[in-house]
């Protein structure tokens, strides 16, 4: 098992803030909008340095999405910022009609996704956002795994013409991807080559997948681990190549089992190469209050669950 180390834990939302600040400097067409959550989204630096390109819209997310769509007319590249729940479910029809169907170059940037929002509880812990966004024709859906990757993804999506959903979160997590790693939309990243099982992980589940790989190695199981940072478009080629080698799959995501990464992978496999597959995901329920670690354990999303799922997938081969 390839060894991964990190020097510090950082939040992915700060990676977004850093990427946005960088874009302020390098791309004069980038504008940013926020619905009364500047601090939470780490948009302070952009706001301070580029006040004429920053728009505080207040607690009015529907208006924010429409404004962003309109701002593209004349060449701006709007980045909207609010919590994942208010970035998707609350404004689904605005995104559907004014952004996706209208082919607008809007970047919907969503923090506090999933259970790891923690103590605020289920009203804010959206677990359906990946599904909502990936169903929209033309929408790109990205869920990076750490600070460095979120920063790189933020910068990369400014150069991609078309609507993008960028999902990140609140807790600090190991920052292990190289700071200079280029972000390629739609390109899965091989983290460990293996032969017995493939673990496909996205977002905050990538680090636990690495930890699970280490535990499996100690048991003599050689797991292939792949970071699927882009859920749509899915890297079909990388997934099928890996499964051809390992013959079974575990998908890992901080999302409802219905409609997320696992379902996208399952659809691909059913059509091309059906193999045993286990889901690490929330089992069609809402979340609740608690610390992020407590919640990830209670809802079956920690490294031990991944190890068990991998063993089960292998046993079904």
């Amino acid at each position: 098992m390839k060894k991964y180390t990190f020097t510090e834990k950082k939040d992915t939302r700060s990676g977004f803030g850093a990427g946005l600040a960088e874009l302020g400097k390098t791309n004069p067409n980038v504008v940013a909008l926020c619905a009364d959550l500047i601090g939470s989204l780490k948009m302070d630096a952009f706001k301070k340095d580029y006040p004429e390109r920053f728009f505080q819209v207040g607690i009015a997310e529907a208006n924010m999405i429409g404004l962003a769509a309109g701002m593209t007319i004349g060449g701006k590249i709007p980045f909207t910022g609010t919590f994942a729940n208010f970035s998707t479910g609350r404004v689904y029809d605005q995104i559907r009609q004014s952004v996706a169907y209208s082919d607008k170059n809007v970047k919907i940037c969503a923090s506090h996704a999933g259970l790891t929002l923690g103590e605020d509880g289920a009203t804010h812990q959206i677990l359906e956002d990946i599904g909502l966004m990936k169903m929209l024709p033309g929408m790109t859906v990205i869920n990076p795994c750490d600070f460095n990757q979120t920063k790189a993804a933020t910068i990369a999506i400014a150069d991609h013409h078309g609507p993008v959903y960028l999902r990140f979160g609140r807790p600090t997590v190991p920052n292990f991807t190289p700071a200079d790693q280029k972000f390629e939309i739609g390109k899965a990243l091989m983290l460990n080559e293996g032969t017995d099982v493939t673990i496909f992980a996205t977002g905050h589940l990538v680090w636990p997948a690495i930890e699970a790989g280490e535990m499996l190695a100690e048991m003599g199981i050689n797991a292939e681990i792949i970071n699927i940072h882009t859920i749509k478009p899915l890297d079909d080629e990388a997934i099928l190549a890996s499964v051809a080698k390992t013959g079974c799959v575990v998908s890992c995501e901080e999302h409802n089992r219905l409609g997320g990464l696992g379902d996208s992978i399952a659809q691909l496999l059913v059509k091309n190469k059906p193999v045993p597959m286990e889901y690490i995901a929330v089992n069609d329920s809402f979340g609740e209050s608690g610390t992020p670690d407590q919640l990830m354990t209670k809802y079956g999303l920690d490294k031990n669950n991944i190890v068990e799922a991998a063993k089960k997938a292998i046993s079904r081969k």
Partner: protein, 285 residues
């Protein structure tokens, strides 16, 4: 010929297009389309500085957004008659493989459309965004948008209204089609709007009244509204119209909101809308 007379002839032709388009597919929304014809004709044939060589970014051009997308027949007719696409394409309205979808969309690449609309309440936000980009670009041209009065029941409109005044978006002229009708009945019966003037004024807008079915007044008021831009406040025109204007049996009721005339009714309507033959931009497709 004086400008108003020319515009009236174009409006007559547009009204003929509307009833013929909805009749041909036995679907669509003639009532609001007929009511807003004079406004849209004045905008596209006189008031706006725009280029039918369509460019999405509209740099240096005035732009218009239709928020109440169901009145697509009048929008399509006016776009075609002002040169955005061939007039004969109006015959494809609402048919399979047409660029003229039931509600306007950018998706089929129809020149003149910059935003999909139909799901109500979204157009004011979009228009404000476009207006703010114009300001960022140092572009002095204006943004126009049209909304139904029933559409004001959508909450997003008021989010946008609050935002516009707070941010002094004064390069935008919104118009509300105050015809007092919506699908299920009059606005008073369904969900009364109260005083629209008081509401928009309370939200910090400059409010102008207009009779939307008198061409000379429409022209005069739109030109006046332009003089009210650039003064630190967004501008809204409360445009009183008659749904179905120009066709007597379609007027004064919500019944023709989304119903097409049959053959007999079409003939009756066209008899009331004399074809302005021989005039520029006119002649049935």
């Amino acid at each position: 010929m004086p400008t108003t007379e020319k515009l009236k002839k174009v409006a007559l032709q547009v009204r003929r297009d509307i009833v013929r388009m909805v009749h041909a597919v036995n679907s669509g929304h003639p009532g609001g389309s007929l009511g807003c014809t004079d406004y849209l004709v004045a905008l596209y044939f006189e008031v706006m500085n725009h280029n039918p060589e369509f460019n999405m970014d509209a740099i240096g051009e005035d732009v218009f957004f239709l928020s109440n997308g169901h009145i697509s027949p009048v929008f399509y007719s006016v776009l075609a008659r002002s040169g955005y696409f061939p007039v004969k394409e109006l015959s494809t309205f609402r048919k399979l493989n047409s660029r003229l979808q039931g509600h306007p969309t950018t998706h089929e690449g129809l020149p003149g459309i910059r935003m999909a609309s139909g799901s109500l309440g979204q157009g004011l936000s979009v228009a404000l965004g476009a207006a703010q980009t114009k300001k960022l670009n140092g572009d002095k041209s204006l943004v126009f948008c049209l909304h139904g009065d029933g559409e004001l029941q959508e909450g997003q409109i008021w989010e946008a209204a609050m935002y516009a005044a707070h941010n002094k978006v004064d390069n935008l002229i919104a118009t509300i089609d105050v015809n007092g009708q919506q699908i299920d009945g009059s606005t008073d019966q369904v969900l009364s709007l109260g005083s629209l003037r008081a509401k928009w004024e309370a939200f910090g807008w400059e409010v102008i009244d207009m009779d939307g079915n008198k061409m000379d007044e429409v022209l005069k008021t739109l030109n006046y509204a332009k003089t009210q831009t650039g003064k630190g406040k967004p501008v809204v025109i409360l445009m009183k119209t008659e749904m179905g204007f120009g066709v007597d049996f379609m007027m004064g009721s919500h019944k023709w909101h989304g119903v097409a005339p049959n053959d007999e009714q079409l003939a009756q309507a066209l008899a009331q809308l004399e074809e302005p033959i021989g005039y520029n931009y006119c002649g049935d497709y």
